[in-house]
Amino acid sequence: MATDIRPVPRTFWAPRVGEWIPFLALNALGAIAFLHPFFTGAAEPRSRWFEHSTDAPLVFGALAGLCLLLVVADMANGRLDSKTIAGLGVLAAMAAILRTVTLPAGANLFWTLVIVGGWVLGPRLGFLLGTLALVISAFITGGIGPWMPFQAFAAGWVGLASGLGGGVSRRFQPPFRLEVASLAAIGALAAIFYGVVINLWSWPFFIGGPDISYQPGLGTLEALRRYGNYYLVTSFGWDLVGSICNALALGIAGGPLVRALKRFRARFSWQSEQVHYG
């Protein structure tokens, strides 16, 4: 009698449709919670807007946090085997540490690792990697705060997007250079995207003029215009530098990292259920 355990596509990599539904739904609900300023009406009388303008953001922020907690817990429950847990744990720890190691020009390799991880591990693990890396980073630097759901969701979405990109690339098998170039492009976009998302948390709290300030019940277009201005004034310059550094770092280290991680992925891919006896 012989037991042969072969590499097989694991259920976690290609989950059933039923597992995608909660994942996508919770992500969508989280996004709605963040974006509420853009599609809700005014309830309080305009004259008293200042006094209660942060009530709704506070409650919606808490709901975003709840969505984050639920999506991570739901993905993890039952399905993570020891290899995935340890692999994700170490990648997240590594990204969190790299976030504290500053390279020239204030850049760091946090995004490099999240994007490369997502690219190779797929959208769902990419999402988990992004969120958990951010949470670990908050734990080790003491950076816990109301901004955490925003940061973790944004990081998760970057990992998710990169995972989708990686999936496309696996299907079409482009030349490696093109793969690295797309990684660099994702990195460049990620810095801006992350900045846009995390500034949503602070927007309601800063009082400027009628061109940038949040007010409940502005209507979608006006809210977008004001938020755009707010982002431009407070963060765009900073994020642009980050964006360039991300692209550079991924252009230089992305290729070798992807190759190393792909080699390792083969080691992830046996599962004990697939035992053949003969």
Binding site: M1, T3, I5, P7, W270, S272
Partner: protein, 523 residues
């Protein structure tokens, strides 16, 4: 019978050659089995059969049957097997799954859903019986290697398994840590409740305490009681090898027993190795070196001068500053006082420049390997050193030419160490500084290293090798320096230091006056 292997043949996924072939063994209740054999010979694979990690975790193809405590280990889920066979791994850092000692012990119990009240009692008992009760709320990261391995043994015993598997539990530890771990295992054996299988390549401490020996070599198994096994084991402690050469039966297992038997043996002739050539120019020197970590001074007023042709074995207990001294010489450690000179001139400030003259090989040098092939790794090592030797010459001189195309992460541990040494010393600096290069290495690797170091010294180079292993050091050192808290304790020629009346005699020297290694003894 607690476990039984029948005709096991196993190959790792994608590997054409079986890692184990036709292995059979019966393990009786209460046995203490030593699993010996060269590294990469199949010891780890063999142990992992008993708790089903092979093939369930690693994949691959398995033929034959493994029955442990009445269960087929190759098919029983890990959760069930964990309660039958606990395992301790080689690397202390990788096996903790919680942050503190007690939480780590609790992990397995929590997984099985053991009630908290029972858990308390069990953990108390484990902490007591392994002598780690005072460490209970310490974080794993702050423990010494020996403490961590004892914690790992306690964690493996948490579910009260009938079988304990230990995969080279002491190879990453210093002498003191290793002794404490083996003491713990021996005490466990004495209770008679647990059957123990422990793999190891340094046999001197284990041979006297085990009840039977298994050797795995090239995937094949040999088995016998210790007194018998000493006749066919390949890598045995020097005193066993001596008795074996002399034809003593049964071969005594401890140094003491050997000594009492010696009188009955024929007279040995000692042919001392050629004395080392007289030292040449000063290659590296430290004057009045002092180093502090915060407020504590770890080294003070160190004066050390090393000439061409000298190989200095740097001894000292843990924390005596061996590593710190080497790091200071190469510029990785800032000094508070004193100076370092190379060939009489002040050493350059940067690590990059200093390493050109004094190549430093830290512990676990393989950590930085990252290229796709061994060759690229060497090319990378030479890239910043213009004018050095050609890549092929370097590959050949370190006998890694046949590995040139292999991925450095795929080769065996011993080969990896050679590749790492090659990449760090490719530019052939005149001074080699090495930090415990033989730690965890099997006999063939440490022999290779000794011959490379001697060659280097003969060509007019010099080396300073920090080590705990005086048996290995006796093969290459010409001079011995031992550090203690006060500074340099002694600085003697190797023959004097390792000799019978010296401060740290080797096993052979303690048996046969005038010799320090077995090579010098002729029957």
């Amino acid at each position: 019978m607690i476990a039984n292997l029948r005709d096991i043949t196993y190959s790792y996924p994608g590997s054409p050659r079986p890692a184990l072939s036709s292995v059979s063994l019966d393990v009786r209740e209460g046995e203490f089995i030593l699993v010996a054999g060269p590294s990469a010979g199949g010891k780890s694979t063999f142990l992992r059969l008993f708790n089903g990690l092979v093939p369930q975790f690693h994949g691959g193809r398995l033929a034959g049957s493994v029955i442990v405590d009445g269960l087929d280990a190759s098919r029983t889920p890990a959760r069930t097997m964990a309660a039958r066979a606990g395992m301790v791994f080689q690397e202390p850092e990788a096996q903790g799954v919680a942050l503190t000692v007690e939480e780590d012990l609790a992990f397995g119990l929590e997984q099985q859903g053991v009630a908290p009240a029972i858990m308390e009692v069990r953990i108390e008992h484990l902490l007591e019986s392994l002598g780690i009760a005072r460490l209970r709320s310490r974080r794993l990261a702050t423990l010494s290697g020996g403490e961590r391995q004892r914690t790992a043994i306690a964690a493996a015993l948490a579910l009260d398994p009938r079988l304990l598997l230990c995969d080279e539990p002491t190879s990453q530890l210093d002498l003191e840590g290793a002794a404490s771990v083996i003491g713990a295992l021996d005490a466990l054996h004495q209770t008679g409740r647990t059957t123990i299988l422990v793999s190891e390549h340094r046999l001197d401490r284990l041979l006297p305490v085990v009840s039977s020996v298994v050797e795995i070599r090239d995937g094949r198994l040999r088995h016998g009681p210790p007194s018998c096994a000493t006749r066919w084991l390949e890598a045995v402690p020097p005193h066993v090898e001596l008795c074996r050469a002399a034809g003593t039966t049964p071969v005594p297992l401890t140094l003491e027993a050997t000594r009492s038997r010696l009188l009955a043996l024929p007279q040995f002739t000692v042919r001392p190795m050629e004395p080392p050539p007289s030292p040449g120019d000063v290659l590296v020197a430290a004057q009045g070196l002092a180093i502090s970590f915060g407020d504590t001074e770890v080294l003070s007023d160190i004066d050390l001068t090393v000439h061409a042709g000298e190989v200095v074995a740097l001894l000292g207990a843990n924390g005596s500053g061996k590593t710190t001294l080497l790091r200071a010489l190469v510029g990785l450690q800032a000094t508070t006082r004193g100076s370092v000179t190379f060939r009489g001139r002040p050493a350059p400030p940067s690590v990059q420049q200093r390493a050109a003259h004094a190549g430093y090989v830290p512990q676990d040098p393989a950590i930085a390997l990252y290229r796709q092939s061994v060759r690229d790794e060497v090319v990378d090592g030479l890239r910043y050193r213009p004018g050095a030797a050609s890549v092929d010459d370097v590959l050949r001189s370190w006998s890694v030419a046949d590995l040139a195309a292999a991925n450095p992460r795929d080769v065996s541990v011993g080969q990896q160490l050679r590749v790492a040494l090659t990449s760090l010393l490719a530019h052939d600096p005149p001074v080699w500084l090495m930090d415990e290069p033989t730690r965890g290495a099997d006999l063939s690797v440490s022999r290779f290293l000794a011959s490379r170091i001697r060659e280097h010294a003969a060509r007019g180079g010099a080396a300073i090798v920090a080590t705990h292993d005086i048996e290995a050091a006796a093969h290459f050192a010409t001079r011995v320096v031992r550090l203690n808290a006060a500074g340099i304790e002694f600085d003697l020629p190797a023959r004097q230091a390792f000799g019978t009346d010296g401060p740290c005699p080797t096993a052979i020297a303690s048996l046969i006056p005038g010799a320090i290694t077995l090579d010098e003894v002729a029957l």
